[in-house]
């Protein structure tokens, strides 16, 4: 089984650190979501893994070897970096044939991936006539060409229509289920939440989190319960007694932070408080991510007060 190992990876561009001491592993059989705002270093990291850029220090290996030392790499690693990276005057089929030839992949496989990516009908049109969504599909077809055990996709759903987004989500899950190591970058939380098992989160080139999706959400959010009753006075008294802090909302509901329905339901039943509505709020990846980056922003952002003092 092949994994991607990034160790103390650093890349400087003109004194600015795009990637700063990054260490993480992308394991087979899982989809690893690669999260971070634009400019956090996700694409740079992928370029370093693929040997397109040279690291300032540190290493990135696939199955223990630097990418450039892999023979016929398309048979082992499939990557989509930039859907625009193609010669526009070529047809989609020729684009894939050229790539297939480098790794002696049979021409039949080109037809297969064109079919899989849903662009078989446009295969003989020039790439410059493709929409962004079609170019993304062509890029994904290219990544799948060699049936690789490692797949890296940079913002694959960029430009895809809703149908395409569902397709890519399913496909990514399936690739991991087949035992491949899959790294998918995105700056969209809900999308990442829909397919990732594991998360690697970057901020300003540094590793902010490398953890399972569930664990990440649990660590950075608190559960919450919303409920409605006919007896507001007793409800708040009973809950307060048990150490909860219910807050009344404008719409007549109560919100209890740090509680689960399993905590609140039995309590109110025991006290005989009539409940009209009781619902747990599932914390989202977005909440967790914002909580993480809020802490990080406080830590790294220049302090406005200091600036004022200087003046």
């Amino acid at each position: 089984m092949t994994s991607i190992d990034v160790t103390q990876l650093t890349k400087e561009y003109g004194g600015r650190r795009a990637v700063d001491g990054l260490t993480f592993t992308v394991r087979p059989g899982k989809v690893t979501g690669f999260l971070g705002p634009n400019g956090a270093g996700k694409s740079t990291t992928m370029r370093l893994v693929l040997g397109l850029d040279r690291p300032t220090s540190g290493t990135a290996t696939i199955g223990g070897r630097p990418y450039a030392e892999i023979d016929e790499p398309l048979r082992h690693v499939g990557a989509l970096l930039d859907a625009q990276a193609a010669v526009g005057s070529r047809t989609g089929r020729d684009h894939l044939r050229i790539l297939a030839a480098t790794a002696r992949i049979p021409a039949r496989r080109v037809d297969d991936v064109l079919e899989q990516a849903g662009i078989a009908s446009a295969a003989d049109r020039r790439i410059k006539t493709y929409s962004l969504g079609m170019r993304q599909r062509l890029g994904i077809a290219a990544a799948l060409l060699g049936d690789p055990e490692v797949v890296m996709l940079d913002e694959p759903s960029n430009g895809l229509d809703p149908e395409g987004i569902i397709w890519i989500r399913r496909h990514v899950r399936q690739l991991a289920a087949e035992g491949r190591a899959v790294l998918v970058s995105s700056h969209l939380m809900s999308e990442t939440a829909s397919f990732a098992d594991h998360l690697v989160v970057l901020g300003k080139g540094r590793l902010l989190a490398d953890t399972g999706m569930r664990e990440f959400i649990e660590e950075w959010t608190t559960p919450r319960v919303r409920l409605r009753t006919t007896d507001d006075v007793r409800l708040s008294a009973v809950l307060a007694e048990k150490g909860f802090h219910p807050v009344a909302d404008d719409d007549g509901r109560w919100t209890v932070e740090g509680a689960r329905v399993e905590d609140i339901g039995p309590l109110t039943a025991e006290a005989g408080i009539p409940i009209l509505e009781l619902a747990g709020e599932e914390p989202s990846l977005e909440h967790a991510y914002l909580a993480l980056t809020a802490g990080e922003a406080e830590y790294t952002a220049p302090r406005p007060t200091a600036a004022v003092q200087e003046v």
């Binding site: 450039a68 010669v87 020729d94």
Partner: protein, 248 residues
Amino acid sequence: MSSFAPVLHSEWLKIRSVRSQCLALAAVLVSTTAFSVLMCATLSAEDTSEAGFDPVRASFFGLNFGQIAAICFGSLAVAGEYRNGAVLVSLTAVPRRGLFYTAKLTVVGLLALAVGLLTSATCFVLGQAALGDLGVGIGEPGALRSVVGCGVYLALITLFAAGLAAVLRSAPAVMGFLIPFLLMLSFVLGDVSEGGGWVDFLPDRAGQQILLQNPDGPLNPWTGTGVLVLWVAAALWVGGRRLMRRDA
């Protein structure tokens, strides 16, 4: 290295699948032949009776036009990789950059040589026929050398453009530099500095010595081609360094 053949195949498909590159290659044959035959067919008695008249050279007159097409082909084949960042995908498929560069230059160079030799043979046969009684056969001293030399010259000019394209990463930039440099510079300076000098060491001047029956400059056919080879090697070396050292 075991993986050279697949990469060669891939580079061959790259050229075959882009219309502009095929057209540029076809234009080498068509324009060189057309202008050569036109020249041979329209020479006046005054021209042909001059002391230095060289019937073999006359049938390669169109080379000045054909080499523009060769420059276009060489620069498009390499610089095409840098439009829209297509080279990212190419280098992901072939991460050994030396292998990638060598394979591309091999395919570009061999294609240019094949088309160049076909061009020069066609020019010679049709040109000499157009000259009528003044025409010579391939047995004429220097004729075979000129025919082969013209093909080699076109291949070398193509590689020169390819090497510069690896440096400049833009086909228009290569054409904008090389076409005036090769055509106008030596044309203008050639008349100014009569009797040799550094002008004779310019790539086109040096490389075209091989076409002449009686070269009178400081370079003979073989040293002239050698000088052109040095120019080409320098361009390829700088282009190769840029590819190997820099981030893609």
